[in-house]
Subunit: 175 residues, 2 copies
């Protein structure tokens, strides 16, 4: 599966399995634990399913309109999300810092990338592919429960943030 | 759990367990099956976890800013989603028809309702509470994963729709 990913990004530096980032990943998944968080041993198992990579500044990890079967957990650094609007390319949507996720939208429904994601500084991330998630669903369904609940919280926060920050103009509200 | 819900909506007509809606619920969960859909028997089990209700036209099933530990699967009818913006109350965001979901945002992270939801016609829905989801997570983790993947797809579609329809003005694009 990692091959699947590297195939499109042959110039990225592979940092190996995510095992060395268990603490970071554990923290990431324990921010809102209303359905029970990950303990260290679970995070370790989850990390065994992911490969990590280091990208330089200005690296496009996702391109709007492309197919893509993976999502990225940002371990350090930052990614900026930009989208083409009618006649105005590359408009800023949001930035995603360490502890955040990008690519989860295409990851869960196999639509093409809705926006482009580019690193704004040297950035390390863990890759989860759809094949990995399928393995996790089969082999560790309860851990998959926690991962998916976490992604739901990420997406909910995204909807709130998008509407709150970007929409007032739609209704003629001046800030 | 159903009590939990009816407590705040004592005037709603309870239609009983969702068992009579297995076909509708099966269809709802089988629209994008990249991780495997629900079969009829699974949908039946899931339906055993939910109660159904009938609301008249103009009924506010969710009020922006309120706490709420449930989400609704719309079985028939329609719900309109509206939000207060600075100085402009009750602005239209979207409508949700049969086969759609509302309230999943607060349901998964226990934040207050981000918008209000009002029926635009007589509307039947199935209620899933956080307690129900907890039971499902414990008793049927694999089915819970299918439910969560479905909710992720709903939310992803919501982000795409919100950005595409409402945001161009933010960037000064005139439609
Ligand atoms: N409005 C938004 N707010 C935050 N992140 C977004 C937004 N739109 C898209 N993204 C992110 O950009 C990613 C582009 O690829 P995906 O569509 O797979 O998944 C997307 C999200 O992770
Ligand atoms: N931008 C949006 N597009 C579609 N539905 C929304 C949007 N914002 C909020 N909602 C729905 O309105 C519901 C209000 O309660 P919740 O915040 O729990 O969950 C919310 C979603 O189901």
């Amino acid at each position: 599966m990692a091959k699947n990913f590297l195939h499109n990004y042959p110039d990225l530096l592979c940092l190996g399995k995510a095992d060395q980032y268990v603490d970071e990943i554990c923290d990431m998944f324990n921010q809102n634990k209303i359905f029970g968080g990950f303990d260290y041993d679970e995070a370790k198992i989850l990390c065994g399913y992911m490969q990590c990579y280091a990208a330089p500044r200005g690296y496009k990890v996702m391109n709007e309109g492309d197919e893509g079967d993976f999502m990225l957990l940002v371990l350090s650094g930052e990614v900026v999300v930009r989208k083409n609007m009618d006649g105005m390319d590359n408009q800023y949507l949001v930035e995603v810092k360490a502890g955040g996720v990008v690519g989860e939208m295409g990851f869960v429904d196999s639509n093409v990338r809705f926006a482009s994601c580019v690193t704004t500084m040297p950035t390390d991330f863990a890759v989860m592919t759809r094949a990995t998630l399928n393995d996790l669903l089969l082999q560790h369904p309860r851990m998959a429960n926690k991962l998916l609940l976490k992604l739901l919280q990420v997406m909910g926060a995204r909807i709130r943030e998008t509407v709150t920050r970007l929409i007032p103009e739609h209704f003629g509200v001046t800030k």
